[in-house]
């Protein structure tokens, strides 16, 4: 099956798997390393992919994926197109809180190439939270890593009483009220 399925594999004990999908490999690597530096009490594996679908030949080795973070570089329209094309290969049930959009490069206001409307639209259409960050700034990198780690923890079911479905509360816009 070409689509990414959230529940077609058995989870491992005390383990969580994050999948980062984005065209900028270097940035993904840096973010992954930042996440691994954070303190956590469960095992974590991070898979980095440039786009979906994932190579089928490694499918049997791949564990169950708990959270997919799509990385969009605000300076590159190409990265947005890449993410939009990859979204077609994700099963619908993933979009119940197990997907988020990570928009990077927001520190450089002068180089914005992707429009805010497009990103907001993406978040609304796919019912997933959109996080903004600037990974070149140490503070933002650490904060983003902590946020993703917390989301991953919840998505993997390690936080009793909180499920991934509660992430819809992150998306409510103040203007909607």
């Amino acid at each position: 099956m070409a689509e990414l399925q959230p529940y077609n594999k058995l989870p491992a004990l005390s383990c969580a798997v994050l999948l980062l999908v984005g065209s900028d490999g270097g940035l993904q690597q840096r973010l992954a390393e930042a996440i691994l530096r954070e303190k956590k009490n469960f095992k974590i594996n991070i898979h980095l992919a440039a786009s979906l679908p994932l190579p089928p030949e490694r499918d049997h080795l791949r564990p169950r994926i708990d959270l997919v973070a799509f990385m969009i570089d605000i300076k590159s329209k190409y990265s947005l197109k890449n993410v939009e094309a990859s979204l077609a290969y994700v099963d619908d049930s993933f979009f119940l809180g197990k997907v988020c959009f990570l928009v990077t490069g927001v520190g450089r206001v002068n180089y914005c190439s992707v429009e805010m409307n497009a990103i907001r639209n993406l978040g609304e259409v796919y019912c997933s939270p959109v996080l903004f960050c600037e990974l070149e700034v140490e503070g933002s990198q650490v904060a983003t890593a902590q946020r993703l780690l917390r989301m991953l923890e919840i998505c993997a079911g390690h936080v009793p009483g909180v499920s991934a479905l509660s992430f819809s509360s992150l998306m409510r816009n103040c203007a909607d009220d």
């Binding site: 690597q29 390393e33 898979h47 980095l48 440039a50």
Partner: protein
């Protein structure tokens, strides 16, 4: 010594970075060893230039000698100017023996017969390069020493590198003089321009590393390389990354790329839209100019695919720049069978 000469020398010395002034004055050779020793090269540049001017006064330096210092400066710092490449053509096949004195005589003769007020300097360098500096005047005014044109000619090749001054009207005369003096028949401007003279030479003399269609056998040890990064980070698209690296290497070669700052594409193609939208009433070519600029254009193109900003392989319109030896293109509609546009010769 004329006031203008003094001012020119002063301004030329001020251009030179302080640490280089002594070496350049030595290369210039107009001031003797003892005179150079009287200058304190640790003071501010204003004072150094004043001292140099004073010593030149003692030696009664004229404008032609002063111009040599300008050539030396530009030879060491050619990247401050924009260079255009020209190619000369000869119809005959015989390789004539290049006579430098004859060349200089014919060149000077041609320029002086058209324009009396010119300052012409020649300087030869080891790599068979002849540097020519021309300061232009008019029949009524003296040559403007602050806006000279520079020509670099490698006598064993048909290529000339010209850094024209702002006074572009003198360019046809300059080209004529070059063709006449070097015994060629014609000269044409190649659409190749850059600040880096050495890179231009690399491109036309084919000195950069080119991609040859060889088969690179994959060495076995590649597979046994110990993973440098954390084992908890898994790369899903390793094969794709390797493919991109391989394609990139095939297209760009392994070595450093020549340094260009711009690539400009002038499009004169028809606007292709949905026929129902009928955007343009008249069916005329849509004129559009696309310009790529970068401190080092070819290196940045080379890193586009590995950085995940473009698909590999990159458009041949961009990668053909060193092979075609041009970075200014005109793209017109192809009139024959294929619907895509083609690049004009």
């Amino acid at each position: 010594m004329d006031e203008t000469v003094a001012e020119y020398i002063r301004r030329t010395v001020l251009k030179i970075p302080r640490d280089e002034i002594k070496t350049m004055l030595e290369k210039w050779g107009l001031l003797s060893e003892t005179q150079l020793q009287t200058i304190n090269f640790r003071q501010i540049k204003e004072s150094i230039s004043q001292d140099v001017v004073q010593l030149c006064e003692e030696n009664s330096v004229d404008i032609k000698q002063a111009a040599v210092l300008d050539i030396i400066y530009n030879h060491v710092y050619p990247n401050k100017r924009v260079w255009c490449v020209y190619q000369m053509k000869k119809t005959g096949e015989e390789a004539e023996f290049f006579d430098l004195t004859d060349f200089k005589k014919k060149f000077k003769g041609r320029l002086r017969s058209a324009l009396k007020n010119v300052t012409i300097n020649f300087r030869e360098y080891e790599d068979n390069a002849i540097w020519i500096r021309i300061a232009w005047g008019t029949p009524y005014t003296k040559p403007n020493q602050y806006k000279p044109s520079y020509v670099v000619y490698h006598s064993q090749t048909p290529y000339v590198f010209i850094s024209a001054s702002v006074l572009k009207s003198n360019l046809p005369l300059l080209c004529q003089a070059l063709v006449l003096a070097s015994n060629y028949h014609d000269i044409r401007e190649m659409e190749l321009r850059s600040h880096s003279l050495n890179s231009l030479k690399d491109i036309v003399f084919k000195r950069y590393s080119q991609n040859f269609q060889t088969h690179y056998p994959r060495p076995l040890q590649e597979r046994n390389v110990a993973p440098k990064s954390d084992l908890r980070i898994i790369q899903e698209n390793r094969n794709e990354k390797e493919r991109i690296e391989r394609v990139n290497r095939e297209v760009f070669g392994d070595g450093p790329q020549p340094k260009l700052e711009f690539a400009q594409y002038k499009l004169e193609t028809m606007f292709k839209s949905d026929p129902q939208m009928d955007v343009l009433d008249k069916k005329e070519p849509f004129r559009c100019l696309v310009k790529f600029s970068s401190p080092h254009l070819l290196e940045s193109l080379k890193s586009l695919a590995p950085a995940g900003m473009a698909d590999a392989p990159i458009s041949p319109l961009l990668t053909c720049i060193p092979q075609k030896a041009r970075n200014y293109f005109k793209i017109r509609e192809k009139k024959h069978f294929f619907p895509e546009s083609f690049v004009s010769p």
